[in-house]
């Protein structure tokens, strides 16, 4: 997969976003071992230092943890991932409504449009 | 690291010189064979061509040994390749020494190849005897031994040409200190240095002559009819002077290289 980065935004923040989606969507499941920093850097084609920064950020959010010698793992606490998913979904929904508002559509109308879309 | 540098410098020279070595020996052999065949007109023409080719190749061996040494020196120290040469973890002294030894080796090899070619083409008992007799008439006239004469002649010629090659090296180093017209200045400086070196040797011989009247005679009279001893002394003194000049010039070259280079 090709990852695109917007040069206007710090790269580690964009990596953080990619990683959050990975965790929410279950690409890496609860308690699963994560690839090393170097492997991640190769996957995303970014500087290992930047990758390290993004992972450190994830760790400070308790989404992942480090086992001293074995590397990094996804948190075992499913609630944290669920919470992240919630937050993320709300953000997406908000941005949808904001967009609709710009073109003069209220919440009720917006939902109607959502229902009309076939998957 | 010197041996590694030398390995690649020698490889380069072998690559570029071996064709001349092979061809001069090849034409020496054909010359020999053609001489020994019955002398029809056709064979005579062919053998003349063969002799011509052999001497052309001998001249090429000599000239190319000198030219290639200069080309190699300037290309690996100052042209695109210098980006690699100067970033190798080796000292500037080693860089210079490698070129110096390479030149020396190929100079000797070239010299031997030339002798070998002549030997192959012309050796016969009669020729050998007439050559030795010829040399003997000179040496007895000059009152010195044959081996001494030959040795001194080879040494003086050798040092003289080697000195010229080194003047070229120093010329290249000094020429490349200029920001523009590096090649032109290299040739100009090389030539000036050569003249200076010759004048210094001549001057030193003159100073020596102040203490040795037989040598002084060489400066005073126009005739060859002088003390033969003077030639002996002259040969030895000038050889020593050449050695000193070559050593000093190497030190100057290394000193200049160690001051740093400026590659375009």
């Amino acid at each position: 997969m090709e990852f695109t980065f917007d040069n206007n935004i710090p790269i580690y923040i964009q990596l953080l976003e990619y990683m959050k989606i990975y965790l929410i969507s279950g690409v890496y499941k609860c308690g699963e071992k994560l690839p090393s920093v170097r492997e991640f850097a190769t996957i995303f084609k970014v500087n290992p230092n930047t990758m390290q920064k993004a992972l450190a950020e994830l760790e400070s959010m308790n989404l992942i943890y480090t086992e001293r010698t074995n590397g990094k793992y996804v948190t075992k606490d499913e609630k944290i991932i669920e919470k992240l998913k919630d937050e993320y979904a709300i953000t997406l929904a908000k941005s949808y409504f904001q967009g609709m508002k710009k073109i003069g559509l209220g919440k009720a109308d917006s939902i109607k449009y959502l229902e009309e879309i076939d998957d | 690291m010197l041996n590694k540098l030398l390995k690649y410098d020698l490889k380069y020279m072998i690559k570029n010189m071996s064709v001349f070595y092979i061809l001069s020996i090849f034409f020496a052999i054909t010359t020999r064979i053609l001489f020994n065949m019955n002398q029809s007109v056709m064979i005579k023409i062919l053998s003349q061509i063969s002799v011509g080719c052999m001497f052309a190749m001998i001249a090429n061996t000599l000239i190319n040994t000198i030219m290639r040494s200069w080309i190699r020196f300037s290309s690996s120290l100052y042209k695109d390749e210098s980006y690699l040469t100067h970033t190798l973890p080796v000292s500037k002294n080693d860089l210079y020494n490698s070129k110096f030894i390479q030149t020396l080796i190929f100079f000797i090899v070239g010299f031997l190849i030339i002798l070998l070619s002549l030997f192959i083409a012309y050796y016969s008992k009669d020729n050998w005897i007439s050559l030795t007799n010829y040399i003997k008439t000179i040496t007895t006239g000059l009152n010195m031994s044959t081996s001494f004469f030959i040795t001194m002649a080879i040494i003086v010629i050798f040092l003289e040409i080697f000195n010229a090659i080194q003047c070229g090296f120093l010329g290249i180093i000094l020429g490349h200190k200029k920001n523009n017209g590096k090649v032109g200045y290299s040739i100009l400086f090389g030539f000036i240095i050569y003249l200076i070196a010759q004048l210094i040797i001549l001057g030193l011989v003159f100073i020596y002559g102040l203490f040795d009247s037989t040598v002084m005679e060489l400066f005073k009279t126009a005739t060859i009819n002088i003390d033969v001893n003077a030639f002996k002394v002259l040969a030895i003194v000038s050889s020593l002077l050449y050695l000193v000049i070559i050593t000093i010039m190497s030190l100057i070259c290394k000193n200049e290289l160690n001051k740093g280079v400026n590659i375009e």
Partner: protein, 234 residues
Amino acid sequence: MISMKLLEINNLNKSFDNKQILKDINLNISSGKIIGLLGKNGAGKTTLIKLINDLLTPTSGEILVKGNKIGIESKKIISYLPERTYLNKEMKVSEIIEYFKDFYEDFDDKKAKELLNKLDLNINEHLTKMSKGMQEKVQLVLVMSRKAELYILDEPLGGVDPATRDYILDTILSNFNDNASVIISTHLISDIERILDEVIFIDKGEIVLQSDADKLRNKEKSSIDEIFRRMFKC
């Protein structure tokens, strides 16, 4: 990560014929970073790099690599890619590998062969028979196959197609290790900025700015490329 002075430049000046090319350069570079040396053409990038690699001699000032002056010790740990093709073209690729192995203790010939293999390159071929682009790739592979402490790449992206550019960036990233730093000089900033830890702006022979890349993006709320353009409008 241990922060030690890998490269230290103090009050460096360089002039040619009374024309000053570099003015009072002061620079500190530590290990474990990818650093962009960014400037317009003729800003002095290559001059600075050549001074670090002993191809030019400073007019004044000093350059220290792990505390040593430029010389054998610095050359042992610096792996340098010039902006031109510089290898002896009469040589085969395999001979050049041999050459690097002879002179650089940190050269990994297996790795070099592996990388060249991936390029579908026959190592028994002479350089003369290769396109300029191919020769440049061979040079990059050789330079990155050393386990050096400081890689200096001068304009590695100049005039290459996007596929080659990706290949070059991948090669740099996958061979870069924690103990080493990489200095990449370029005027094509947008191509490369996502892999940079740190940026150095150089203009008219002077260092204008040295900063962490993400911090700079955050502060100016725009890409390095844009910040650079704003700063050095023609």
